[in-house]
Symmetry: C2
C-alpha cells in the first residue's frame, strides 16, 4: 500500500493507493474520525454501481455505518444543476446532517458532482473520494469540484478538499481499454509538466499500464498524484502556478464542448490538446522533441494525437472564448518549454491558436 499526503495546511489529506482497499473502507472511515450516528450518502454512477457498490456498502455496513446510495446515469451529462438538486433531495430524504459524509464512488464525473454536493449541502459537509478510474487520479487531488452549465464546463463549483482518498487498484481491473488510455493522458500530463524521467518511464511502461499491471498502475498513480499534490499545495485556489495543470485543457475543453461532452473522453480531448500545446511550444522556441516526444508517448498510451476531421475550427475557437482560462480578455496558455517543464504565457494570440487547431486537423487528414 502506497500513501501520499496532499499538503494543504489544515485541509491536508492522505491518498491511500493499494489493492482491495474498498473491503477495508470502514476502518479508514473510523481512522479519520467519521462518526456512525449520522448517515452517509454514497454517490456513484450506473456503470460503477453494479461492479463496486455492493462491496462498498457491505464493507461500511459491517463496520457499523449507515449508508444510503444514489446512482446517477454514467456520463458528463450528470454533472448538472438539475442533478445537484436531485441529490440534495436524496440527502434530505436520507436525513443527512452536518456530520454526515458524502462518499464519491466513481470516476471524475462522480467525484466532481458528489464533491459539489458535499461543498454546497448545508454550506459544506465532509466528503471521501473512492476513485474507480485512472483519470480520477487527477480530480481526486486538489479539491476542484463542479457541475457544468449548458454554456460552459465546470463553471459552477467550489474548492472543497476531501477527508481522504481511497484508491483501490482492484477497481481498475474492469476498465475498458479506452478508459485506461484516457486516464493515462492525465498521468502523462503530470510528467510533461514536472518530471521528464517519469515521462520516459511512462513510454517504457505504456504496454504494462495498458495491460493493467497492478504494480505499474500503483506507481503511475502515486507519481501522477504526487506531481499534482505538489503543485496544488503551492497554490490551492489557482491564483497562479496551479494553472500549469491545465496543460492541454484549453484546446481540450473546447473539443469536449463542441463534441457535446460525450463523443470524446476527457483524456482523449486533452491528449489532442497537449499535442497542440506542444506545437505551440515549438513555435514559441522550445526544441522540436517537445512535440515529437509528447506525440509519441501519448500515441503509445493509445491516445488520439490529431483532430478528427469532422470538427469545425470556428466552433472550437468560439468554445475556447467561453473557457475560463482567460484573464481580463488576454489569452492565457500553458506552453511546454521542454519535456518536464511548462510556462504560463499570457501573450498567446488567438490567431496562433487557430493555426495550431488547423494544423491538428490537417495532421489527421494526412494520415
Amino acid at each position: 500500500m502506497r500513501e501520499l499526503n496532499v499538503d494543504l495546511g489544515e485541509r491536508s489529506y492522505p491518498i491511500y493507493i493499494g489493492e482491495g482497499l474498498i473491503n477495508e473502507a470502514a476502518s479508514y472511515f473510523q481512522k479519520h474520525g467519521i462518526g456512525k450516528k449520522s448517515p452517509l450518502l454514497i454517490i456513484t454512477d450506473s456503470n460503477v454501481a453494479p461492479r463496486h457498490l455492493p462491496q462498498l456498502e457491505e464493507s461500511l455496513r459491517n463496520g457499523g455505518y449507515r449508508a444510503v446510495s444514489a446512482v446517477v446515469p454514467a456520463g458528463e451529462s450528470s454533472k448538472s444543476l438539475a442533478m445537484l438538486g436531485d441529490l440534495v433531495g436524496e440527502a434530505l430524504d436520507a436525513g443527512l446532517d452536518r456530520k454526515s459524509v458524502i462518499v464519491a464512488l466513481g470516476g471524475g464525473v462522480v467525484g466532481d458532482l458528489a464533491g459539489f454536493v458535499a461543498a454546497s449541502y448545508m454550506r459544506g459537509i465532509k466528503f471521501v473520494q473512492i476513485p474507480t478510474t485512472i483519470l480520477a487520479h487527477d480530480s481526486s487531488v486538489g479539491g476542484k469540484v463542479a457541475v457544468n452549465h449548458p454554456k460552459a464546463k465546470n463553471i459552477i463549483g467550489a474548492f472543497h478538499q476531501p477527508e481522504f482518498v481511497l484508491y483501490d487498484l482492484g477497481t481498475l481491473q474492469t476498465l475498458p481499454p479506452r478508459d485506461v488510455s484516457s486516464g493515462l493522458a492525465e498521468v502523462v500530463k503530470h510528467g510533461l509538466i514536472r518530471d521528464a524521467a517519469f515521462v520516459d518511464w511512462c513510454e517504457q511502461n505504456a504496454d504494462k499500464l495498458r495491460a493493467l499491471d497492478a504494480d505499474s498502475l500503483g506507481y503511475a498513480l502515486y507519481k501522477g498524484c504526487g506531481v499534482k499534490a505538489s503543485v496544488v499545495s503551492q497554490d490551492e485556489k489557482e491564483l497562479g502556478l496551479r494553472a500549469i495543470l491545465n496543460l492541454g485543457h484549453t484546446i481540450g475543453h473546447a473539443l469536449e464542448a463542441v463534441a457535446g461532452y460525450n463523443e470524446l473522453q476527457h483524456g482523449e480531448a486533452i491528449s489532442i490538446g497537449m499535442v497542440g500545446a506542444a506545437r505551440l511550444g515549438v513555435r514559441c522556441g522550445a526544441p522540436q522533441d517537445v512535440y515529437t516526444t509528447t506525440k509519441r508517448v501519448l500515441a503509445k498510451c493509445g491516445l488520439p494525437v490529431s483532430l478528427p476531421k469532422h470538427y469545425d475550427v470556428d466552433a472550437i475557437m468560439a468554445a475556447m472564448m467561453h473557457d475560463k482560462k482567460f484573464s481580463e480578455g488576454t489569452m492565457v496558455f500553458i506552453v511546454p518549454t521542454a519535456i518536464g517543464s511548462v510556462e504560463i504565457r499570457s501573450d498567446v494570440s488567438v490567431e496562433w491558436v487557430r493555426e495550431i487547431v488547423e494544423e491538428l486537423k490537417l495532421e489527421a487528414e494526412q494520415k
Copy 2:
C-alpha cells in the same frame, strides 16, 4: 457615515452605513482595488430595479466601470437552482472572468442568491453587497449565501464573504411598512441575543424606526450589524456559537416552509419564532419577563407575535424535522435565559416544541 469592521482574519471586510452612498459607489469600488477591465454583474430584483438600479449603474459608469445588470423576479422563489443557472448564463454572456465582481443590490433574497452565484461562478469570484432593506443587515454580515431546494430553505450554499457592504440609508426610505417591521425583527433579535440595553433602546425608538428616521435607522443597523459581526468573527463556519443567531429561526423557517415562502415575510416568521423561543425559555426556567418583553418589543415594531390560526401544527412539525438545525438526530434549540442572553440547548424534546407551537396558535385564537 458609520463604519464597522467584520473581523474575519484575511476575509475581514467593512460595512459602510450612511445616506447617499450609492452615488459614490464607484469610489468605494476603487478604494477596494476592484479593477475596471473586467465587467461587473449587478444582480437585483424587480422591486428594487426601478428604484435604485439606474442610480447605481450611472454611478459605476461615471467611475469608469462596465456593469451589466440582471433583474430577477422579487421574492423567495428566485432563490432556486434554476435561477442560479440562468444567472451563470448571463455572467457567461457578459464575459465575466475571475477578476469580475458580482454586485448584490437588494434585500436578503438578492444577497443570498447573488452571493451564491459569486461563490460558485468559476469556483468563486468577489462580490459586493448593497442592501436595500433593513432585514438585509442580517444577511449582509457573515457570508452565508444559499439558494433553496423545494424540500428545504437555504440548503444549498456556501460561506462566501463580500469585499465590502455599502448600506445606503436612502434606499430604505421607500420601504413599505410591512418590510420595515420585518427588518426590525432581526434588529431586535440581535439585541435579544447579546444586548439588553439595545432591546430597551429598540422599544423606546420603535416609532421613530417605523417612521424611517434616518439617524435612528443608522444607529439600529450599526448596532445590529455589530452584534452579528462579533458573533460571526468568533465562529465563521457555524461550528458552535454562531448557532445563537438562529434564535426564532427553527420555528420561523418551518412557518415559512409551510406558508410556501411567500405568505409570511422572513421577519414576521422569526418574530413568531422568537416569541415561541421565549415561551420555551420560560419553561426552561428563565424569568417570565423574557416572554413578556420579547412579545411587547416585537409587537411595538409592528410584528406578529402569535400563529395565524389556519396553520397546521402537524405540517409545521414535519417541516421542522427537515430543518438543518438538527445534529445527529438531537433537536438543537436556541433558548433565551434572560433579555440579552441565550443558550444553545440540545436536549429540547420534540413534544415541548409541539406544545409551544400549539400555544402560539391558541394565543391567536384567544385574541
